[in-house]
């Protein structure tokens, strides 16, 4: 399932626009994921210096996905993109165990942001194809996701590279948006 089929599923929604924000540390695989969602080639991806955006529109309904660079230096700019976010997708490099603490800290700061209150959270435990990848359940414990009580959330193991798990994540997004945005 790509963005177009997500759009089709959501079209019965009364709103005319849906905004998805893709965040996560640098090297998590946000841009690769964005390109997979847009069914684009993923063989020549460069580190993101600013942001990338993909939009799909059909019958007056529009879906925008924002992918913002994740370097430590530019994380303070994430907040410029919080306004009117309908779904937050947080991407983790499951094979980068050295930075689990750093990614956990950034996520907990995001969840305290006023502008993101109640915004549903999908955590993509990306790079499951790599040898050293932690499982979704290890990451759930490590990030203390079970303590999240103010929003719907889901963790989905995936590999943007092999495309496994990506569709399941989007299914959850479409289900969640439909039930919370009426």
């Amino acid at each position: 399932m790509g963005l177009l089929s997500l759009l089709r599923k959501l079209r019965s929604n009364p709103q005319d626009e849906l905004r998805i924000l893709l965040l996560g540390l640098d090297n998590a695989g946000k841009t690769t994921l964005l390109k997979v969602l847009a069914s684009e080639d993923i063989s020549h991806i460069t580190p993101t210096q600013g942001f990338n955006i993909k939009s799909v529109a059909s019958n007056g309904f529009k879906l925008n996905v924002w992918d913002i660079g994740g370097q430590r230096r530019i994380r303070p700019f994430w907040r410029n993109y919080f306004e009117n976010t309908d779904v937050l997708i947080y991407v983790i490099d499951s094979a980068d165990r050295k930075r689990f603490e750093e990614t956990s800290l950034e996520l907990s700061e995001l969840l305290e942001e006023e502008k993101l209150v109640n915004v549903p959270l999908l955590v993509f435990a990306n790079k499951q194809d790599l040898l050293n990848a932690a499982t979704s359940s290890e990451i759930t414990d490590g990030l203390a996701l079970h303590t999240i009580r103010d929003r719907s959330w889901q963790i989905q193991g995936c590999s943007a590279y092999t495309k496994e798990g990506v569709t399941d994540g989007l299914e959850w997004v479409s289900k969640t948006v439909k039930s919370t945005k009426k």
């Binding site: 020549h44 040898l131 719907s152 889901q154």
Partner: protein, 311 residues
């Protein structure tokens, strides 16, 4: 289970895609070098075979990975010399100092490093963050199978952006990185392995044998000298032709500033060459007719190439 006070009907659970089944058992520790001191380690072709590789907490080690990998992390290393063959994804070096690294990758990233020399063949724009005294040079390297490993990792030796660095934390009036010219060689910083079990790899860093052509990149981009734009159209022996051309130019003191390997559609061909006859081309080679044309064509081609890189 997650708690969903706002929406108790939807359940949250943890979903994992099935783990791939390997025919033979893989020992993760074969792909992690941790806490080594004063050692020389090498991996010959076929032993890593596209897996992720991690090098961490090593001191005064010499490490050679003569194979292709999926993703590489180098963390907390000091005084190490490291060669890593083609990386399909990113190579990320962090919290390391006084190291020498030579590598081929789709993405190069460095954070919290200092005093590091990097010989690079990188398909995208290399980036650094919170680092200083980083020196970049163009990789020149050969070992048996390197050409194959380039192809398996999905990287073209002609798309090397080794000198076009993006610094996320620039400092005013100074630079966190500098560029090395060809007076610095890989072997000067990372000598070839002496172990006899590597001798069949015929390892070399010479410009005559390298798989990655030596290019001057940003060292020459702004030089106000005569320039020429040469296009080899895709055919079975384009690689042989390109190598032969580069070899012929060297004794003539004509330097290669940059090479690129891209698919060009008709619209782009029209724009770059300013000449419709090349739209149907595809088998002819192209050389600028005069230097004014060359400058314009180069600008257009670089614009096109960077759009390809960032699209």
């Amino acid at each position: 289970m997650g708690c969903l006070f706002s929406n108790p009907d939807t359940s949250t659970d943890i979903l994992e895609p099935p783990k791939p089944q390997y025919s033979c058992k893989i020992n993760k520790n074969d792909y992690i070098l941790d806490k080594l001191k004063d050692q020389t380690i090498f991996r010959v072709p076929g032993t890593v075979d596209g897996q992720q590789f991690i090098i961490q907490n090593c001191e005064n080690c010499t490490i050679y990975i003569f194979d292709h990998t999926g993703q590489v992390q180098i963390d907390d290393c000091k005084h190490c010399r490291i060669f890593v063959g083609p990386v399909h994804g990113s190579i990320f070096i962090r919290d390391s100092e006084n190291c020498n690294l030579a590598t081929i990758c789709q993405q190069f990233r460095a954070r919290d490093c200092h005093e590091v020399n990097i010989f690079l063949s990188c398909a995208s724009q290399p980036i650094i963050e919170s680092s200083h005294h980083i020196r970049f040079g163009c990789l020149t390297y050969f070992y048996e199978k390197l050409g194959e490993h380039y192809a398996t990792a999905g990287i073209s030796p002609y798309n090397n952006n080794w000198s076009n660095i993006h610094d996320f934390t620039p400092v005013p009036d100074s630079k966190n990185y500098s560029l090395m010219d060809d007076s610095e060689t890989v072997f000067k910083h990372i000598p070839a392995p002496t172990d006899p079990s590597c001798s069949h790899l015929n390892i070399s860093d010479s410009q005559d044998q390298t798989i990655t052509p030596f290019s001057y990149g940003e060292l020459y981009r702004e030089h106000n000298v005569e320039r020429c734009f040469v296009v080899l159209f895709h055919e079975a022996n384009y690689d042989v032709c390109a190598r032969e051309l580069i070899k012929m130019l060297r004794p003539l003191k004509i330097v290669l500033v940059q090479s690129k390997c891209y698919t060009i559609n008709e619209l782009s061909a029209d724009r770059i060459f300013n000449n419709r006859s090349y739209n149907t081309l595809v088998t002819k080679d192209f050389v600028s007719q005069n230097s004014t044309d060359a400058v314009q064509q180069l600008d257009k081609f670089y614009n096109f190439a960077s759009m390809q890189m960032f699209s």
